[in-house]
Symmetry: C2
Subunit: 332 residues, 2 copies
């Protein structure tokens, strides 16, 4: 049923080596035999066994992509772009959702190593840095610091946080509330918070901060949001991701608070999906294309030329999408 090189060789009436030469475009062979071999391959519906190929010293052309989840539109789009880019470079993508479960992520790291993936892209947010340090294979991370030998790609989170704060303040907000997905130091995402705080402090404003764990149930998150809003009565809210911003907007509506007149809202991420279906949401837009392409480029470069040193950080500028959830007061 399944055919091998040998079958093709026999069918085409040539030697095994010749077939291998043709397939790998190595050494000399004539157009004529090449045609005969291709014909035989087609006739037998032969396709090379890349498992065997990988075993005899070659690459697997497999890349592991570790995300927290796929259901967040930003992650979904990031994955799609990474996959597309990898496909164009003839690599295949193994997807690994950590679901914020360190155990699962750890298992996946082992699995992926076992499978001899050529490299790893990780955009997960778990506290298992050490596991990554153990790795000898090329890794590129998104929005997370791992250490010197693992380059980090991210958008300018600090500037993003600053921008969000400025927008809210310029719109007249004074009682600020920040919903942050997670609060940890090793994480560039926390720079969103830092940037936000930076502007606040300069304006002598002390914002409230509420963590909203992304792995919690949606009801629990809603409850946290509800409580924070009713307790602090903010007139300006930043969310460190758009999904949370949508929940916040929903909650505000239920509380009969009007956006932006009573409360302004700024999100973060700016995935295409959100921009198209929620253009009214003001949000900090990450350059998804650049991020995905850069990660793939960095990773494949590292794979092809392991010795070339790379920068530690690649920070891309963000843009602000002005929707109608913030006020725009032209001060000039």
């Amino acid at each position: 049923m399944k055919h091998t090189l040998k079958d093709v060789a026999e069918k085409a009436g040539v030697s095994l080596t010749t077939v291998s030469r043709v397939i790998n475009k190595r050494g000399y062979f004539s157009k004529a035999t090449e045609a005969r071999i291709f014909a035989a391959m087609k006739e037998l519906n032969y396709y090379p066994n890349s498992v065997a190929r990988s075993l005899s010293g070659k690459k697997t052309k497999l890349i592991g992509v570790i995300l927290t989840n796929t259901h967040n539109p930003f992650n979904a789009e990031l994955l799609e772009k990474i996959e597309t880019e990898l496909f164009n470079r003839e690599y295949k993508t193994i997807i690994a959702n950590s679901l914020d479960n360190p155990q699962k992520e750890r298992s996946y790291i082992s699995l992926l190593q076992s499978n001899q993936v050529d490299g790893l892209i990780t955009a997960s947010h778990n506290t298992i840095i050490n596991d990554y340090h153990q790795l000898t294979l090329p890794v590129v991370s998104f929005d997370r610091y791992f250490g010197s030998h693992i380059p980090t790609v991210s958008s300018d989170n600090f500037l993003g946080g600053q921008t969000a704060a400025k927008v809210l303040l310029e719109g007249g907000a004074r009682r600020l509330l920040l919903f942050s997905g997670e609060i940890s130091d090793t994480n560039p995402t926390s720079d969103r918070m830092n940037g936000f705080m930076d502007i606040c402090l300069k304006r002598k404003i002390v914002p409230e901060i509420q963590g909203v764990p992304s792995d919690a149930t949606s009801n629990f998150r809603k409850m946290l949001i509800h409580q924070a809003i009713t307790q602090h009565h903010p007139d300006g809210i930043m969310c460190t991701d758009d999904a949370t911003a949508l929940l916040v907007m929903r909650e505000l509506k239920q509380l009969n608070l009007r956006i932006p007149s009573d409360v302004q809202v700024v999100g973060y991420d700016g995935s295409d999906f959100i921009l198209q279906t929620f253009p009214e949401l003001s949000t900090i837009v990450q350059p998804l294309d650049d991020l995905a392409k850069t990660m793939v480029n960095l990773l494949l470069n590292k794979i092809d030329q392991p010795d070339v040193l790379q920068e530690r950080q690649y920070i891309f500028p963000i843009t602000f999408h002005r929707g109608t959830t913030t006020k725009f007061i032209d001060t000039e």
Copy 2:
């Protein structure tokens, strides 16, 4: 740098065979040597090379999942659930987005075969049925008919279409408009349209139908939607997916048409994301969990027991999520 069975054997002071026995839990070995071997594995940071394993044995424990894209929330969640389920069964997921490009999908099929995936789950919508027929490996499809040896898993699209039509009619709509992602016969998704038409014809209503190609640019799709609405002046709209429904709602707002008083809208899919962030959208909800689990179960069963015959179709009931984009007139 990279260690093999042999290194572990030497480190543990046992034979290669014994290590293999322990790793595969085959034949006899004592607790003591097992411990020594595990210790050696840990010390060397050894992990079995599953490429070699696959070559020697048979299975790769890899499953290819072919989708049209990842950015649609429904697809994203389906993928996440499939991946989670596969992981629980110790399988890995290679993701392949066709992006509605037959060429790309074809390439991927070859690629995945080359990589000796143990099976395929396909939820893409391209016209390359023949390529799938060539395949000898187990395949399960979502929402698409391929033929007798490939089981199809889907929600009850016909009933879904019927339900949508009924809801709109019960809400008082008479000028119906249907936005369909794609119009083709071989596709169970077209049953959504058929179910819709079925009810319409019974009520002697002739709805307008407008295709909205999912691979078109978002602006083009908006334009189509805009034209169809201004041309037909519908008071009830069904969309065969929620993403389109959101675009439609947006367009209606811009046209200053009120929902549901001027126009009612029903969507289809009911992904968690939409249900949480757009609960106001009335939509037909597919049982994502059941669908994902069934597909994985069917596929893995087929892999484990190739000879057991399977049903051709697995159709799951849908539910209706009543939001505020439809009117509810209690007729009793």
